[in-house]
């Protein structure tokens, strides 16, 4: 379908939840996005970043330092708050529950990934319907494409980083083909876009 122009679409007050999926090359891309979030961020952002299971690195601690917005790693049944950026913990799937809390589970990997972007996005689509936007960034696998399609199907806003702009184009390219997103943007543009929500 025809893409929309990110600079012209109306977003004020239309979205409560922003889900983001990234894989290889994601740390740098997420850094750029998180520094661009305004201190008065009035949505909730939830991020799945693929990372090695053995990694002791806490993404939340890393990003808390650079972001104006509080950044946390999710624990099971944590209430979902506005104005906070959440990261999925390593080795758990992260799901959004209809009663306003996060659920974790250790079901087998989906798209070879745990946490899986597809799992997060699908649950976000079901709960938030048209009030969610999903963003797929850089990566070398196919995770997130089906989830983004679900967001689109439930009336939400699907955004994919322009594969030419991504460090690793496979993940955004796949999402582009599978989910037919309304918006395709460079990382810079995504930053501007989120900043003026």
């Amino acid at each position: 379908m025809e893409r929309l122009n990110w600079n012209k679409i109306e977003t004020k007050g239309l979205y409560d939840m922003i889900v983001v999926g990234s894989s290889a090359g994601g740390i740098e891309s997420l850094t750029q996005i998180l520094v661009s979030l305004p201190a008065k961020f009035s949505q909730t952002m939830v991020i799945v970043q693929h990372i090695s299971h053995d990694s002791k690195r806490s993404l939340a601690n890393h990003f808390a330092v650079i972001s104006h917005v509080p950044v946390r790693e999710v624990e099971d049944k944590e209430p979902i708050e506005v104005g906070v950026v959440y990261f999925a913990p390593t080795n758990y799937h992260l799901l959004i529950s209809s009663d306003g809390v996060f659920n974790l589970n250790i079901d087998p990997p989906v798209s070879f990934s745990r946490p899986s972007i597809d799992v997060l996005f699908q649950s976000a689509a079901e709960v938030y319907q048209k009030r969610v936007m999903g963003i797929i960034l850089t990566g070398t696998n196919h995770d997130g494409a089906d989830g983004l399609k679900q967001i689109r199907k439930h009336g939400g806003l699907a955004i994919v980083q322009n594969p030419d702009d991504a460090r690793y184009p496979i993940m955004p390219q796949t999402a582009l083909e599978v989910a037919d997103p309304q918006l395709v943007m460079t990382l810079d543009e995504i930053g501007f876009f989120l900043n003026r929500l």
Binding site: E75, D76, K77, S97, S123, V127
Partner: protein, 273 residues
């Protein structure tokens, strides 16, 4: 914000039907996780809707027991989160060693990986002989596998690494015998293990214990069912008893936060006040 779609309604009806017919109570399981598992079951059984599953469940008990394997997917490993077992070994067992006899409840023991992790720890601490371990689960097939103590050989490398990271210094392979594709753990490890069918959703307290370990089970429950489980654990634990949870499970969002001390905060080991 919340909209109930047809799928939610179908799943609720199915879980009610399962409870009425088989007394397995999944009604308090977290819907988002159940949904995904049901979607997998649909694909596996080549059925087109949850309502079709319900029809088969009601008229074919063997089908129900197949479905049960989807509702209770066993996913575990030995010495999962080695730091947890390191804390147990270094700081919890020395306290428990002061008791003349010990009782431990492993709730939701699944296929037994956690049981053997504990019995190896207890053996190495010289406590196994005077400990009774209650290993409970709702899935009879998992319990049976736990009791057999047979694990796929291709998991052993991971288990061994975890064992070493948990502070284990013995030769891990001394604890099992292998054939071409599996590892059979030593019978003596399960001598004091009582394997029992017990549901955190419907059953009650059965013994006083000094340690409850329930890891990565509560994540599948909604908050009301979690509270029921926390009630059972609190009532089972002796004064100053220990509660071990999964690495991303917490009492933080429960009223029980005030009734326990965080004994090892990062490892999610709590101690009853």
């Amino acid at each position: 914000m919340v909209q109930k779609d047809d799928l939610d309604i179908e799943i609720k009806l199915l879980l009610q039907a399962i409870y009425d017919k088989y007394s397995y109570d999944f009604r308090g399981y977290s819907m988002s996780s159940v949904k995904r598992r049901m979607a997998n079951a649909l694909t596996q059984f080549r059925l087109t809707s949850i309502s079709r599953i319900q029809e088969k469940v009601l008229h074919d008990s063997s089908f129900f027991y197949e479905l049960l394997q989807f509702l209770t997917i066993p996913t575990s490993e030995m010495f999962r989160d080695p730091q947890f077992f390191y804390q147990m070994r270094e700081n919890v067992l020395p306290i428990l060693a002061t008791y003349p006899s010990l009782k431990i409840w492993i709730a939701g023991c699944s296929t037994g990986e956690e049981i053997y992790s504990y019995t190896i720890l207890l053996h190495e601490a010289g406590l196994l002989e005077r400990t009774t371990i209650y290993a409970t689960d709702i899935n009879p097939k998992s319990l049976k596998r736990a009791e057999q103590g047979i694990f796929p050989l291709d998991k052993i490398k991971e288990f061994t690494l975890n064992y070493q990271r948990s502070g284990g210094t013995k030769t891990f392979s001394d604890y099992f015998k292998t054939d071409s594709n599996s590892a059979l753990f030593d019978r003596s490890l399960k001598k004091n293990v009582v394997f029992a069918d017990h549901s955190l959703a419907t059953d009650s307290v059965f013994s006083e214990v000094q340690l409850v370990s329930c890891r990565n089970v509560l994540i599948y429950f909604d908050q009301a069912l979690q509270k029921r489980a926390f009630d059972l654990f609190y009532d089972s634990l002796s004064r100053r008893g220990f509660l071990g949870l999964g690495s991303k499970e917490t009492l933080r969002f429960s009223e029980y936060d005030l009734k326990y001390d965080a004994f090892a905060k990062d490892e999610k080991i709590y101690r009853k006040k």
